[in-house]
């Protein structure tokens, strides 16, 4: 190894990288603060109508009020519960079905066109149907969350399984392994990185599906709050819900990132 730690030029290089990183972080924060400041000023100076556009302070006040009467926790909790439930169901059934398709070449060939069509269908079109079929309850909202993510999951995972290096599979057979060994020792461990990246996409998709579902048929949840708020012209509610949805999306993504780090360290 040719790493000299103490060298002056190397230290200068490291400093340069650190300076750049600090600058980027500072500008990011600046944009955020400027945006909030501009928004608040625009409302206070009556450039725009606070009744329609709300404002950071109005959002905070609304949030504080709803925290005080605990109603916000119910809405957040319901949306989170529905999102996580549909996410886990998508991961479980998606992986299971993708494995089934890998196991049976006939089945995968038969079902392929159906999966492609279902995957390219705009899933929000299914939500009204699901509400009619399953009723205006949590079941149909979870189903809406699942419907958005499931087909893509199956297709992507199956493609991942199928693109395993045939020589790696041959290796298992030369060691007298069976198809089950191929599955357990090559296919599954080999596609864990793919599964994680699919999960990162899915958690966002499930949230989208759940909110769509709540738009149409719910009495609780952030999607309900958005629709209801827009109908009664409580736009503070709407904007606050959108901000909370942003934070939920970030938090869920961070959760999967965290799981990925644990996996990478542990394996």
């Amino acid at each position: 190894m040719n790493e000299t730690k103490g060298s002056v030029s190397h230290q200068a290089y490291l400093d340069k990288i650190a300076r750049r990183q600090r600058r980027i972080t500072a500008i990011r924060i600046l944009i955020f603060v400027l945006f909030l400041g501009l928004w608040e000023t625009a409302v206070r100076q009556k450039w725009i109508d606070g009744f329609i556009f709300s404002s950071p302070s109005r959002v905070m006040t609304t949030f504080a009020q709803m925290c005080a009467d605990h109603s916000i926790f119910l809405h957040i909790g319901i949306t989170l519960l529905e999102t996580l439930t549909s996410f886990f169901l998508v991961v479980l059934t998606g992986t299971g079905l993708a494995l089934l398709l890998w196991y049976s070449t006939d089945l995968s060939e038969i079902l392929e066109p159906y999966l492609v069509i279902l995957n390219s269908l705009p899933k929000s079109a299914l939500a009204p149907l699901l509400i009619v079929w399953l009723g205006a309850n949590m079941k149909s909202i979870i189903a809406a969350g699942i419907s958005v993510a499931i087909f893509g999951t199956i297709l992507n995972l199956y493609t991942g399984f199928a693109s395993t290096d045939p020589d790696e599979i041959k290796l298992i057979y030369t060691l007298k392994g069976t198809k089950r060994d191929v599955l357990a020792r090559v296919i599954i461990p080999g596609t864990v990185p793919l599964l994680i990246s699919i999960m990162k996409v899915n958690i966002g998709l499930c949230l989208v599906g759940v909110v769509i579902g709540e738009f149409i048929g719910a009495k609780q949840g952030l999607g309900y709050l958005i629709i209801y708020g827009s109908q009664v012209f409580k736009l503070d509610w709407v904007i606050m819900s959108i901000v909370i949805l942003c934070m939920i999306a970030m938090g869920l993504y961070a959760m999967i990132n965290c799981a990925e780090k644990i996996y990478l360290r542990k394996r």
């Binding site: 790696e168 030369t174 020792r185 090559v186 461990p189």
Partner: protein, 254 residues
């Protein structure tokens, strides 16, 4: 009795566009402890030959016998080394090396000891808990060989195991593999398109024709000075002679 015996073996592939004759009427025998190299024009079916011997596929015609039995796949282990080492990154070096034992549920104190001894002997014990990506190309190939030897195979099939290595590594890995096989007293069948590799490693070289591959010639390789490594053989006087013979044989009918 020869260890391995091929008797009029033929094999053809089927695809939509038709039938491809890969091997035609191949017969030869391999004695215990021999090192055989198989060479021929590219795409002639050399690898198919190894797949047949390993029992991954069955011949259309003819029989393959190991120790006199044609139903050897259930009872005997045949080691098979592929072009790439295919060490799995999600397993440590040790867990890669015991993969075969794990699959056959034979990982016990005794086999574990054997594997650890081999890792020690062949300079990998320090890396037992490392990831494959931390190994050099030569070390990876040695690890793959130990994975194969861990099952104590009667016969080793080597399918161009050095072709993915750079030239310098290839020369030293050839030496390594030759000495390891000599030490473990293994019979080996090496498929290669590298004539110098064949001449420097094998006791006999089988030359196949282009597809459908027939056995064109069997060339015995003898060096006056015993116990030379493949690298030393490359500068021995006989090396050039055998090399030229093989070269002519391969290019005679093209």
């Amino acid at each position: 009795m020869p260890l391995l015996e091929l008797d009029h073996v033929s094999y053809s592939y089927h695809s939509k566009s038709g039938e491809t004759y890969a091997l035609s009427d191949i017969s030869f025998q391999v004695e215990k402890g021999e090192f055989i190299a198989v060479t021929g024009p590219s795409g002639c079916g050399k690898s198919t030959l190894l797949s047949l011997i390993s029992g991954l596929i069955a011949p259309n015609e003819g029989t393959i016998r190991l120790n006199g039995s044609s139903r050897y796949r259930e009872t005997t282990n045949i080691g098979y080394m592929l072009q790439k080492d295919h060490l799995f990154e999600w397993r440590s070096v040790y867990r890669n090396v015991v993969l075969g034992l794990e699959i056959q549920h034979r990982l016990n104190e005794e086999t574990d000891k054997h594997v650890r001894e081999m890792l020690e002997t062949y300079g990998l014990s320090r890396f037992a808990d490392a990831r494959p990506s931390e190994l050099s190309g030569g070390m990876r190939q040695r690890a793959a060989l130990i994975r194969t030897l861990a099952l104590d195979p009667e016969l080793l099939l080597l399918d161009e195991p050095f072709s993915a290595l750079d030239f310098q590594t290839r020369l030293s890995v050839c030496d390594d593999v030759a000495s390891i096989l000599e030490k473990e007293k293994k019979t080996a069948l090496l498929v290669t398109h590298d004539l110098s590799e064949a001449v420097s490693m094998a006791d006999r070289v089988l030359v196949l024709s282009s597809r459908p591959a027939r056995l064109r010639r069997i060339l015995d390789i003898r060096y006056d000075k015993p116990k030379m490594t493949p690298l030393e053989k490359r500068s021995a006087p006989e090396f050039q002679k055998y090399f030229n013979l093989l070269w002519k044989e391969l290019n005679a009918h093209e």
